[in-house]
């Protein structure tokens, strides 16, 4: 039985079985370390999940539910790391829950897309990165920012539209940036962040090969299943493979592009399989399990850092809330939601670390408390911060204010106090 209720919509996908016969998640060079870690498990598992006459998908979480495999994957996790992962995921969850509260209380406006349920992906990848590595996100970007180290108060203040926000209130929910943390967006349109991420990866290669700098920085591009039907995704897979750019393409497949089921939108729903045609290893991972994500991420990031090129990782995940806070979320089947909430990534990690005596219950409680306070503090900070002054309106339109032109008095118009009043016409 597939764990994907969405499959019920397509009871007899005529070619799914055919695909599966040819499906080996790894078409990469045999030397791939991915193959030797969790990947080998996928291979063996996929061959055993065919139900009679029913197209069972390789995407299933069952693929990696082998306890032995988990145990081996976890050998490298120390209690310190476990605490870090737990703290980051709890922070993401608490922060987003607080966002919902603040939205309904009228403290923030516009489209607010929450990350609840997908924390294992952000945490599993980003906590492995160095400060110099680059992250490119989507409109669902708060938690990527937090995982990369942007202070919660700066993100919250941005959401409140305050001058103390990480983008001075000029970006908002879907446009989070932090130069200090190499978070380069925050892209609100589908797919547009992927070329920018590819450019950041190109910069790393350029620094190393042209500028002769000692640079092994990696870029991670996050995007969703809906984006994988957009041309920019394929164009950038091609370019990244062509030039062996140090980038990891991470698909957060939460099965729904607003109200469009992944299976209604995509001719071949197995996204990881789209890597190999470009010469890029494609990996599928249970995105509800941070430790599995982390294992895959380690290999993909290391591969990029070594200069061996890009990896496409599909994380099967689920959002516990609607597309945005404005989404009534009426389409998704309650059974499907229930099934995924039973696989809550935070609960899963908590259970694991306790069972393996990596940390104590009290340590986790202390983290919960710490995060509660941190999020509370973020709200207080955001609430008490000043709104951006009017003089800020025309700042940052141009990096060089000459872009605003020369006034009749020969001075640049942005120097003219009257310029910020009334129209900003050049």
């Amino acid at each position: 039985m597939s764990s994907f209720s969405a499959l019920k919509i397509l009871p007899s996908h005529p070619i799914a079985g055919e695909y599966r016969r040819h499906s080996t998640p790894f078409h990469a060079a045999p030397a791939s370390r991915l193959l030797r870690s969790s990947g080998a498990n996928y291979l063996s598992s996929t061959s055993s999940v065919t139900a009679a006459g029913r197209p069972v998908r390789v995407l299933s979480a069952n693929v990696v539910s082998n306890e032995k495999q988990i145990g081996s994957a976890l050998a490298a996790i120390t209690s310190k790391e476990a605490l870090d992962l737990y703290e980051d995921m709890v922070l993401g969850r608490s922060f987003e829950d607080m966002c919902a509260q603040m939205y309904y209380r009228g403290k923030m406006f516009g489209f607010v897309h929450l990350y609840n349920g997908q924390e294992a992906v952000s945490t599993g990848f980003i906590r492995l990165l160095t400060a110099r590595d680059t992250v490119v996100s989507t409109y669902r970007d708060h938690v990527h920012a937090l995982s990369k180290g942007v202070p919660a108060r700066a993100v919250m203040a941005e959401l409140f539209g305050k001058a103390t926000g990480c983008c001075r209130g000029q970006g908002g929910s879907m446009h989070m940036f932090s130069r200090e943390h190499n978070l380069i967006g925050g892209f609100a349109f589908i797919g547009e962040g992927i070329p920018v991420a590819t450019g950041a990866a190109f910069s790393s290669k350029y620094r190393r090969e042209v500028l002769k700098e000692n640079c092994d920085d990696v870029t991670i591009a996050f995007f969703g299943d809906g984006t994988c039907n957009n041309g920019q995704f394929f164009e950038c897979l091609n370019m990244a493979a062509l030039w062996k750019l140090p980038i990891v393409f991470v698909v957060e497949n939460n099965l729904w592009a607003i109200g469009m089921s992944h299976f209604r939108a995509t001719s071949d729903p197995e996204i990881w399989k789209k890597g190999p045609p470009f010469g890029i290893p494609g990996v599928h991972v249970d995105g509800m399990d941070v430790l599995k994500v982390r294992e895959v991420a380690k290999d993909a990031v290391a591969r990029a850092r070594r200069g061996d090129g890009p990896t496409l990782v599909e994380c099967e995940t689920y959002r516990f809330r609607g597309h945005s806070l404005a989404d009534p979320d009426e389409l998704r089947n309650p059974d499907e939601k229930a099934r995924y909430s039973s696989r809550d990534p935070i609960a899963t990690l908590k259970k694991y670390v306790l069972e393996h005596n990596l940390v104590s219950e009290s340590e986790l409680k202390a983290i919960d408390k710490k995060i509660d306070e941190l999020v509370e503090e973020a709200v207080e900070f955001a609430d008490s911060s000043p709104a951006p002054p009017r003089s800020q309106l025309l700042e940052n339109v141009f990096a060089d204010p000459k872009g605003f032109g020369i006034g009749p008095d020969g001075k640049y118009r942005c120097e003219d106090p009257g310029f910020t009043q009334g129209t900003a016409q050049v």
């Binding site: 680059t134 490119v136 926000g165 990480c166 983008c167 001075r168 209130g169 000029q170 970006g171 908002g172 446009h175 940036f177 932090s178 130069r179 380069i184 967006g185 925050g186 892209f187 609100a188 349109f189 547009e192 992927i194 070329p195 920018v196 991420a197 590819t198 450019g199 950041a200 990866a201 190109f202 910069s203 790393s204 290669k205 350029y206 620094r207 090969e209 042209v210 500028l211 041309g231 920019q232 164009e235 950038c236 091609n238 370019m239 062509l242 700042e395 940052n396 339109v397 141009f398 990096a399 060089d400 000459k402 872009g403 032109g405 020369i406 006034g407 009749p408 020969g410 016409q425 050049v426």
Partner: protein, 403 residues
């Protein structure tokens, strides 16, 4: 003789107004040739030729890149060196790449092929394939890649093989190039140059004959300049590369073979400054890119008819150099705008409103604006010619304006 004087006037005019006026009166009394064929040189000089291009007399409706046929002007004793416009662009680009290793080029066929109009010819050999990156045909993605590279420290020059192809990259140019500096609260700068051949060529068909300025002008955070001579092409290219702002550099497909003697010394132009092409008293003609040459042909006729037009190549399409434009209007009190851009929502429309807002009190007549027609550029030669403004229309407009 007239040519030399006018060139001198031009040179001085850009330095001091007083000298400009003195020389201009000298110019007006200079003899003017009434016969033969006038070739408009890039600096606004007119040189007479006979029998070289006998197809039309006096006005050259489609005159653009004309090879210099006067051997005296290329005498080795003169300072500077002679270049075609595309070579000037390349020289500027190459100098900047020499100066700053972060400057790189990306686009279709810019590397091994040398660019569709040879602006990047030889650069891949000199700088390597990574600095002169041949990209797949994926405008949206390689433009976005350039922006990502700019955000992370490089200074890419992105070439649209034809400017019209960049419509495919409109999202990246608008939402990322134009807005990211702002939405990031000033944390990231996007020092890219987006350039390529545009404008109405010769029977290239609608899609390759785009007038894109109108589309790009309302994107916040983007600067736009249009080059028109080898001299300003090089200077503006260098300035655009050095600018911290994203800059769209418009090149005109019919001007690439213009020849001009340019200085040997290093120079950079100001991105925000208009260029005085011909000082005058009666009417201010504002133009840019290829229309500059149609205006200068019309100016020749107008001078013969006793008019003294002031011709300004506005060069900076965004922001407008209202300082130079305003000073001219305060002198002439009459304005004619001549552009190749679309009539609706074009540069001329914006320029007209900026002038009305700022210099209404100085105007003695309604501003006239000659734009190209609001049609997809037709293929047929005759229809295409009627699409863009021709010198005779400019003459008629000035006559009406100065009645």
């Amino acid at each position: 003789m007239a040519a030399v004087l006018q060139a001198a006037a031009l040179l001085m005019g850009s330095q001091t107004d007083i000298k400009r006026f003195r020389l201009r009166s000298a110019l007006r009394s200079a003899p003017v040739r009434h016969e033969g064929f006038f070739v408009v040189r890039t600096d606004g000089r007119l040189s007479a030729t006979s029998g070289v291009m006998p197809r039309r007399a006096k006005l050259i409706p489609n005159a653009v890149a004309v090879k210099d046929d006067t051997p005296a002007s290329s005498a080795a004793s003169k300072p500077g060196h002679e270049l075609l416009l595309f070579e000037a662009l390349r020289e500027g680009l190459e100098e900047e790449m020499d100066r700053d290793p972060r400057v790189c080029v990306m686009g279709e066929d810019v590397g091994h092929y040398g660019g569709s109009y040879k602006v990047t010819k030889g650069l891949a050999t000199k700088f390597g394939d990574l600095r002169v990156l041949d990209t797949p045909i994926a405008e949206n993605s390689f433009t976005g890649m350039g922006i990502g590279a700019a955000m992370t420290g490089l200074r890419p020059v992105i070439e649209g093989m034809n400017m019209g192809f960049l419509l495919l990259a409109f999202n990246q140019i608008s939402n990322n190039c134009g807005m990211l500096h702002y939405t990031s609260g000033g944390q990231f700068t996007i020092p890219v140059v987006i350039r390529g051949p545009g404008g109405v060529g010769r029977q290239l068909g609608a899609e390759h004959s785009q007038r894109l300025e109108s589309y790009f002008q309302s994107i916040p955070g983007l600067q736009m300049v249009a080059c028109s001579t080898p001299y300003n092409a090089k200077g503006l290219m260098k300035a655009a590369i050095r600018s911290e702002n994203p800059v769209v550099l418009f090149e005109h497909v019919l001007l690439y073979n213009l020849k001009e003697r340019i200085p040997d010394e290093d120079y950079v132009l100001c991105l925000e400054e208009a260029e005085m092409v011909r000082p005058g008293e009666h009417v201010t003609i504002l133009t840019y890119s290829r229309m500059r040459y149609h205006v200068m042909q019309a100016a020749k006729t107008l001078i013969n008819k006793g008019y003294d037009p002031e011709v300004i190549d506005i060069r900076s399409l965004k922001p407008f150099d209202l300082y130079t434009i305003g000073n001219s209007i305060k002198k002439t009190h009459r304005v004619l705008i001549v552009e190749e851009c679309m009539r609706t929502g074009g540069i001329g429309a914006s320029l007209r409103s900026a002038i009305i807002d700022n210099f209404w009190d100085y105007l003695d007549a309604p501003i006239m604006c000659l734009s190209s027609q609001d049609v997809p550029t037709p293929y047929a030669g005759t229809l295409e010619e009627w699409t863009v403004v021709q010198p005779a229309q400019i003459v008629a407009a000035v006559e009406q304006l100065c009645k």
